[in-house]
């Protein structure tokens, strides 16, 4: 037996959550694009006819800009003011499996050795309702990194399209089950997950190559077209590098990117990553070698956003394919 919900009832449910004061974020049309945005009106909820929003869902757990704490300078004294903690429950509705899978991967970095409570608090208060994919584009490569169009990783609930306007509701966690309790109908049909993209490369080959070829022409060649804009990192579900700066009486953490020249610039003027090639190399190494070495998981969910959003058509996929080709060349 399976649990079923119609798109109308799903919208009604979203409207109920909004009514109850739950923050809901979901894919919506915005300025000719699809974006994950706070959902104000459940009619705006997009449930089909998009591959992947131009942004990622990470910003609802790890905001672009976040106050760490505030302070008041009073003469020679300083008063620290704790950032207002939000315990507001949040539902990420209709996020793609490649966005949901990023959260258990990010849990490692925000919790090794010392816990980042700002991230953890949002994580605890968030329920993730994943919408399985029914199509993919040329930039998708989830199947190359162990995921797929109906992957449950990181999901509390998985919605799998059944017909044009119904979804099978698969509860993955207790949190997800209670969110949909009493809101579904039972039926004896089961939804079929769509086929994913053909695997494009083997992560192990990339790991092996990048560990052994810190100096290799491929990094510089690939980076020639890179303009260093950081769109890859900022639209990536797993990129989590940040800066800490002072803004208007607050200490704030803002997203940063290894693609920026200032990222590693020493006070002396020396920069260990002086060119775009070494910065592209860092991004591949971090995702496919450093993170797996440290936490046992690839820092990539194959969403393809880095290529989709790159003004030069780069992103990791073309480089990963080139690396695998290089790795398989006869020595």
């Amino acid at each position: 037996m399976s649990e079923i919900i119609s798109s109308d009832n799903l919208r009604k449910l979203a409207a109920e959550w909004i009514e109850q004061g739950v923050r809901v974020a979901a894919p919506q049309h915005a300025g000719g694009r699809v974006l994950y945005l706070p959902l104000k009106n459940s009619a705006d909820l997009l449930l089909d006819a998009f591959i992947h929003p131009a942004n990622s869902a990470k910003e609802f757990l790890f905001p672009k800009s976040e106050t760490l704490y505030a302070y008041r300078v009073e003469g020679q004294d300083v008063k620290l003011v704790e950032a207002p903690g939000t315990e507001t429950p949040q539902v990420l509705l209709g996020v793609r499996p490649c966005d949901a899978a990023a959260f258990p991967i990010l849990d490692h970095i925000f919790n090794w050795d010392c816990a980042d409570e700002l991230y953890n608090r949002r994580r605890r208060n968030t329920t993730i309702v994943v919408l399985a994919c029914s199509a993919h584009d040329a930039n998708c490569f989830c199947t190359s990194v162990g995921l797929g169009p109906a992957s449950e990783r990181g999901a509390d609930v998985l919605l799998v399209p059944l017909t044009n306007d119904t979804f099978e509701v698969r509860s993955v966690t207790e949190k997800g089950r209670s969110l949909f309790a009493g809101k579904t109908q039972t039926d004896n049909v089961a939804a079929m997950a769509a086929a994913g993209p053909e695997p494009r490369f083997a992560p192990d080959a990339v790991r092996k190559f990048s560990a052994a070829n810190f100096e290799h022409p491929i990094w510089g060649e690939h980076a020639l077209a890179c303009v260093g804009c950081g769109a890859c990192a900022h639209t990536c579900p797993t990129c989590h590098c940040f800066d800490i700066v002072d803004e208007h009486g607050e200490r704030v953490r803002n997203w940063d990117s290894c693609q920026f020249s200032l990222f590693t610039l020493h006070a002396s003027g020396h920069n260990p990553r002086p060119d775009q090639g070494s910065r592209q190399r860092q991004r591949i190494l971090h995702k496919f070698s450093i993170y797996p070495d440290k936490f046992g998981e690839i820092l990539c969910t194959g969403c393809g956003n880095c290529t989709r959003n790159c003004p030069a058509g780069l992103g990791v996929l073309p480089l990963l394919i080139a690396i695998e080709h290089e790795e398989h060349l006869p020595a």
């Binding site: 300083v78 925000f110 800490i244 006070a267």
Partner: protein, 277 residues
């Protein structure tokens, strides 16, 4: 649960100007419990902040054997250090830390210590020198070679003079050719050359080498020729950091997060890492 990014407040107890653009600052915790509980190892660093300007990473350059506050030293080079340059006694700054691994002072027991530093690299060596002097019986001969571009760029000159009066301590100061003054009594030359001329014995020694990359690069062949194994040569990396707690993603040197697994490495360990520092 504690916000790991929130600093403790410290009061400026003293400011010392060393050169035209280098100052050191002594600070004490405003909170008595913080002061009571605070412990660190020499070689660790802190993240110091000027409220309204931001945070900067500096080595804690006082000895861990001193119980009255802590000290840091900086060169005026950017937004935060420009602001720190203006602080006065009684002002409040922020401190997070201590972070990083520190020097293996326990493993150095019974060894002769060779300290080689250039320019603004004296503060992170100074804490280890004072630590060794305060635990004098634990360590053998101490050799300090410290150089700067000009006489006016040397920092902690009073302490260099004080150390040279201590037992079994040899202090050699040098300035780059052209950086001397008419009454300069130290050596003229670069740290690697001056150090080689000093004929220091490698036997049962460890070396701590901190300075600009070019100084470290040219010092390594000298240490190799002396016969000091690279596993006995230590340095402290200066990779840019923001969080200090292994999250912000910029200080890594290959698979190693310098803020957590460093900043102190042996040259043997560094040789196994990619050239990302």
């Amino acid at each position: 649960m504690k916000n790991i990014y929130q600093p403790d407040l410290m009061e400026v107890a003293a400011v010392q100007r060393h050169t035209a653009d280098v100052k050191s600052v002594k600070v004490r915790f405003r909170d008595a419990d913080c002061a009571q509980q605070f412990q660190f190892r020499v070689g660790q660093f802190g993240i110091f902040s000027s409220f309204g300007y931001g945070e900067s990473v500096f080595n804690i350059c006082s000895s861990s054997t001193w119980s009255d506050g802590l000290e840091f030293c900086f060169r005026k080079t950017g937004r935060v250090t420009e602001a720190l340059w203006e602080i006065e006694e009684g002002d409040t700054i922020g401190f997070r830390g201590p972070y990083g691994n520190g020097y293996p002072v326990e493993a150095w027991k019974g060894k002769n210590l060779i300290f080689l530093g250039g320019g603004i690299a004296m503060p992170p060596i100074r804490c280890a020198i004072w630590y060794a002097l305060e635990n004098r019986a634990d360590y053998g001969d101490i050799t300090i070679v410290y150089g700067a571009r000009t006489v006016a760029d040397l920092v902690y000159v009073n302490e260099l003079a004080e150390w040279s009066k201590r037992e079994r301590v040899r202090v050699i100061q040098c300035v780059d050719p052209g950086g001397e003054t008419p009454n300069w009594t130290g050596e003229i030359g670069f740290v690697p050359t001056v150090f080689e001329r000093a004929q220091v014995a490698a036997e049962n020694s460890v070396a701590l080498v901190i300075g600009p990359p070019i100084m470290i690069k040219n010092t390594m062949p000298v240490l190799d020729r002396m016969g000091l194994p690279r596993a006995s040569v230590y340095t402290s990396l200066e990779n840019r950091m923001k969080c200090g707690v292994g999250k912000c993603g910029r200080c890594n040197c290959g698979p190693v997060y310098v803020c957590k697994e460093g900043p102190v490495f042996t040259m043997e360990e560094l040789a196994a890492l990619p050239q990302d520092y």
